[in-house]
């Protein structure tokens, strides 16, 4: 019996903390990767990045609707995964259009990073307007296909436990897709010629130019990679929860926090930062009362909710971690600034 209590407690923790944090962390890691790559290569903090996420997700939703109306589906998988590549193409094209018409001017002028940052605020406005204009400001769910891989009730009956474990298919998809995306990105950066030249450009622009690297090509590749990552992140987040432009905009702070915590400009740092922020957000706002009720003898049962912070302050956590990192180790966990 003693053992069951322990297993119950662990299942509870897995169900409410580990699984959600793992999927949210993967989404955040992808989004942060795109932010950090823009920072590393183009050298500015892109305030519009969260709205690129909205834009990419919106494009995916539109393609999903198109496919659904044409009767195309991916079987047990969500249709959005079929729509994703098309949405990425649209997002990347729009990114490049914005880069041509807006950012490239300042790049040629060698403007300071802070000017580019203000420019990105302008782009942010435009993107918000475009997204709200096309799809509206409301909540949208676009998930279809098989919802659960493991259902709490089946889990309980099968193992004879008091606690159930639910794994939504979106959570598994998230983790798998994020892993694939990360591995291919690191392979690209480390092994391919283009990736290496990107890293060289990020490390030392002048030296890279001297060795004959074409800067325009690097910029284009950077925007394309950023669009792939941010659209994927947005779609995974939207499948897992739902799509709402304002919620996506609010992800900007966790993204920045993750980038700085991990070490801004460093892709490994971005991944670590994403998971750190996600796990802290969820572990610090979870009420551990039931967990301790399983583990501790009755006499020691906690009276309160055993919650460090109320869920209202979820994003305050990413900020607090950010501040701590800024004080203790401003360069981030992985010393950043270069790809």
């Amino acid at each position: 019996m003693e053992n069951f209590e322990f297993i119950n407690a662990m299942v509870l923790l897995a169900n409410f903390v580990i699984v959600p944090a793992l999927s949210y962390g993967s989404q955040l890691a992808l989004a942060t990767l795109s932010l950090t790559i823009i920072y590393g290569v183009l050298r500015f903090s892109n305030f519009a990045q969260a709205d690129w996420m909205s834009f990419g997700t919106m494009a995916t939703i539109l393609f999903t609707w198109l496919f659904q109306s044409a009767g195309i589906s991916a079987g047990i998988l969500p249709t959005a995964l079929l729509a994703l590549p098309f949405a990425i193409i649209v997002t990347a094209l729009f990114c490049l259009l914005i880069d041509r018409s807006v950012y490239s001017f300042y790049r040629k002028q060698k403007s300071q990073p802070i000017v580019l940052m203000i420019v990105s605020v302008g782009v942010m406005f435009i993107l918000q307007a475009v997204v709200r204009f096309i799809i509206g400001p409301n909540d949208r769910k676009f998930f279809d296909g098989e919802k659960y891989i493991v259902h709490a009730l089946d889990f309980k009956n099968y193992f004879g436990l008091a606690e159930g474990l639910t794994i939504k298919s979106t959570q598994l998809i998230t983790v798998i897709v994020a892993l694939v995306a990360m591995i291919s990105l690191f392979y690209f950066l480390q092994k391919t010629k283009l990736g290496k030249s990107m890293r060289a450009y990020s490390n030392n622009e002048d030296l890279a130019l001297l060795s004959g690297i074409n800067p325009e090509k690097i910029v284009i590749v950077t925007w394309i990679i950023s669009s792939i990552l941010i659209t994927t992140a947005g779609v995974l987040y939207g499948l897992d929860k739902s799509f709402k432009p304002f919620t996506y905009f609010n992800l900007l702070l966790p993204m920045f926090a993750a980038a700085i915590v991990g070490g801004i400009g460093s892709p490994i740092g971005a991944v670590i930062g994403g998971y750190v922020i996600a796990f802290s957000e969820i572990t610090l706002t979870y009420a551990y009362k039931k967990f301790f009720v399983y583990l501790l003898p009755e006499s020691l049962e906690p009276s309160g909710l055993m919650q460090v912070l109320s869920t209202d302050y979820k994003f305050a956590i990413s900020f607090i971690i950010l501040v701590i990192v800024l004080i203790v180790r401003p360069t981030g966990i992985v010393r950043g600034k270069i790809i």
Partner: protein, 456 residues
Amino acid sequence: MNDELRAPIAFIIMGILLATVGFTQSWSVSLSVINLCIISSIMAIGVNLQWGYGGLFNAGVMGFTALGGLTAVLVSHDPIYEAWDKAGVGIVISAIIFVLSITALLFVFRNIENKQIRNTLIILIIVFGLIGINNFYGPSIDIIESINPAKTGFLGGLGLPIIFSWLIAAVVAGLIAWVIGKITLRLRSDYLAIATLGISEIVIAVVKHEDWLSRGVKNVSGLDRPVPYEIELQQSEWFLNLVERLNFSKLEAMQSLSSRQDLLNDLVIDSSGIFVKLCYAGLFFSVLLLIFYLSQLALNSPWGRMLRAIRDNEEAASAMGKNIFAQHLQIFIIGSAIIGIAGAMLTTLDGQFTPGSYRPLRFTFIIWLMVIIGGSGNNLGSIFGGFFIWFIWIEAEPLSIGFMNMLAGGLEYENPLRMHLLGSAAHLRLFIMGLLLLLALRFMPRGVIPEKIQKK
């Protein structure tokens, strides 16, 4: 165009725009726009001090505005004695524990060299601090929030006239700015932007969810006013006489006595509204003038020159022996304090504090637009930016609806495309704002009224 002429021309055009609203819509609308324009201008001056003179990107304008608003509530609302009696002690004790833990943390962090001891102590302080605060805080807020929750349910304020809050708001915002500045100003400029973006979200979270402090999303309404109420005006003799005298010819033209009385009543109701708004405008305008005058004075002093020197070349200024960090901190605090004043004024004007209405676009990024389009580094430019951008922000909505109507002109009434176009008209103003910002940055990076380069 001659730089000297830009400011007068810009302000004349602005005046014409506001007068057009006065003539075509109504003077009451025009005055409401002007009041908010003045508040926006003050915020823009605050941001301009930080950005235009100090080169600091503060992305947390919203937070300082909300702090100002909160201060207005805490200063002017009557204290809820019952709540203080029953739970005041608990709140005070948790506040003391909070302050003590932070001081202890800072002390440990600064004075203990050994890493292991330091880290253990830090964890111990945090754990005991949290346990201590939880013991007093939770029960106290439950009591406070249960006292007459429909009407109060919070601790109330000091019961002072609301106009004091404008000054206190400056102090509160300045203190918070000091803390943020201490942490982030030594780092790269982007970090300040990100940190202030974060702190503003936290401030909003606190005022939204700490019901014992601010009633949260239940809002605090019915704050007292620094100007007379419309209803009092309508009943006072001197005001009736004034309205009668001003509209003498109009009233004379009326034939019967009863229709003349009706007209007078209408006029009194209209003019009382306008009078109140004029009072606000007068108050706000004096604050604006004072802040403008003081900042011009400061910025033309040796201190202002030093700031510009630091902004233009940090290394050189540092080599001349200027303490860059201290100067940045000063200007960051001053700018934030000014934004705090504007926040308190805004809440005073609204007569209520609505935490849910603070959105980063409306309170942070729009203010940035004002500074950049007005001309960063020029306070007059910021004032113009404040007026112009606020005017566009307000008038963009009717204009976009008109534009959409034109676009959908050929379509039938029930056409889904037409419905969609009209429904999304409100989002067009975001587009206009973004476009204005991008165009200004590209073609007029120095703004409408550029910074004067002093050559001596």
